[in-house]
Amino acid sequence: MARIGVFVCHCGENISATVECDKVAQAAAGFPGVVHSIDYKYMCSDPGQNMIREAIREKNLTGVVVASCSPRMHEPTFRQACSEAGLNPFLCEMANLREHCSWVHEKGEATTKKAIDLVRMMVEKVKRNQPLYPIRVPVTKTALVVGGGIAGIQAALDIANGGNKVIMVEREPSIGGHMSQLSETFPTLDCSQCILTPRMVEVAQHPNITLYTYAELIGLDGFIGNFKAKIRKKAKSVDEKICTGCALCTTKCPQKKIPSEFNEGLGKRTAIYVPFPQAVPNKPVIDKDHCTYYKTGKCKICEKVCPAQAIRFDQPDEIVEVAVGAVVIATGFTIHQTGFFPEYGYGRYPDVLTGLQFERLASASGPTLGEIRRPSDGKIPETIVFISCAGSRDPAKGIEYCSKICCMYIAKHAMLYQHKVHHGKSYVFYMDIRAGGKMYEEFVRRAITEDQVNYVRGRVSKIYERDGKLIVKGVDTLMGAEAVEIEADMVVLATAGIANPGAEELAQTLHVSYDGHHFFSEAHPKLRPVETNTAGIFLAGACQALKDIPESVAQASGAAGKVNILFSKSELTREPLIAVVNRSAPPEYSTCVGCFLCQPACPYQAIEKEEIKDRSGKVIKTVARVNPGLCQGCGTCVAFCRSKSIDIQGYTHEQVLAEVMAVLEND
């Protein structure tokens, strides 16, 4: 006989303001099988949990229903409490009276009635629950880090220094990401390369890290602790083991006019190239799309000049498969290009730049060796305009969110400009200055008060060119929207930061969710910001949302910490909410008829064939069997099985049916 206890929570006033909790408890007391029913102010508090533990012991409960908040909030809490009192944790269920009832309905009879129905459903379900026991699976102590920007680098180093192996996959020929392109960094104005390069080198040299550059992840199977990753190493056309990095080839390549990605199109590179001097690894790759040989079959100059004879034109792409226990996604972000902005000229004016282009101009290693010069004619701009929120906070044409990093880098840019061009005039058109961070507001103030940057509050409506000047039409909204027209020599747009192209496909490869803007979704916006909803896959850096360097690094260390926790044991326990194929006594053995309709339906290849043999080893019957290590408990197989031989523990036919009947039970 079932002996169920019901515990109705007020959640302070969160539930009791619209649901009459005492009535719910009274009603529940009358449900068949319920032997204990009370309501209390805070069930999750210590006294609340104690009430549950005591009731289990005193009344010998065989099941518990806590009618409180979402199970996504406190299921673990209450299951833990039950198990402390000796009740199998899977005999505890929660009725969601808060998120699904009290918070979404007005106070009234109907709401209390719905609460009662919700409790009845869970009581009927829990009566049919079975004790379940966690599943243990082994853990492969190697992490895969996808993306080698500052976030990926930090995560990889932290994991590796924790004594675990790391495989890093970077799409470009070098690691470093956006940080390697930056000139100086706010809020301290230290040189980006100077602080980044040592870490890049450390990654390359770390005994625990295997680095695959010019590579991409093309598949991921398996589950937490036991993933199998498929990586395509694109052919570099250079034998990395032999190449000495002398760079002779790059000086002789006749293809010299290819816009350099690293310099954001402001500089040129060759077809065989190292993206930048501090690249890691510092060995060239051949860009097949631009190489004369690959296009016409003639050239091979690089091969001729290479002293090490390292060029390999016929090198194929290579696919490697690796076993990993966890994944850190750190693929970063990208920015809108100026062609995105109609009213700013659809990218037609060469002296309208993106912030990243300005970084390259301001960088000592950039195409102008750190002098701010106009791309059109090489002149030093006397008047420069920075435009904030270009495409950000613009639901009409761009994105509705705030890109978060640009207010700060605009202040930095204006400051750098004033430091380099003392007599120059700089203007910043802004809507709000978002400088929340340690020493950030002080930094912006310094730009305004010390470096004489003119901040004008208003959004620019149009930019056009006239006689080599860029006419910027804005207003000063703090002057009653008075027109402000500036004849500028250069305009820098703080263009919106957006998700990387390919983020959506990557999310699908990894089976993680992503938001409407293609940023990867964290498991919980406040309390699980570095995890994804898929166990064993973590997030670091700007691929989750725009972030500056300190935040990217903090999150990366957080993700690395999570990975190291996972790797701290060689086995991990998983919730037993998985599929099982029933077994019965001979001669039937199982109601499974061996049709294997379920097998192709399973997205995790968890269903195997099992042969049932007699003593002599003769096969009597072939039935399905679920591999508990692989099954994720999605239940797809269940819906496919016509003979109802396969069922999900925790969501069995019987349980679900009982819930439905309980909802519809007439009153």
Partner: protein, 151 residues
Amino acid sequence: MENKIFEPKIVAFVCNWCTYAGADLTGTSRIKYAPNVKIVRFPCTGRIDFMLLLKAFGEGADGIIVSGCHPNDCHYTSGNFHARRRWISFRSLLDFLGIDTGRITFSWVSAAEGAKWAALVNDTVSRIKELGPYTDYEKVARYYEEEVNHE
């Protein structure tokens, strides 16, 4: 009794990862909606076996909502595709049983779409109110019993 406003009984079959969480967000965002709908949680819409929907109609439900993750966002890769595919063949069964397909709302609500969940519930409730109570349930119940006995 006759004058009582018709308050339809609606069961929602939702997946744990997207729609259940989306409905949680509706709560966290304090968006109000009609109390007629009660949620039954599933690991994935792929788990939802359509005989269960028939059972629900047979037991007197006036309407049903099935909602899970958006295509390509299924926590389990592809469960929602299977559900979708099965739904297509299920439709003809509904026609056969004379159940207005308007009584079933098939939708996607992600964990971030709290407002969408509220709108979905409200739309469904008002549509079912227009359709009126479902009365043919004995016929469905009979079919369901036969089908189960047959197996």
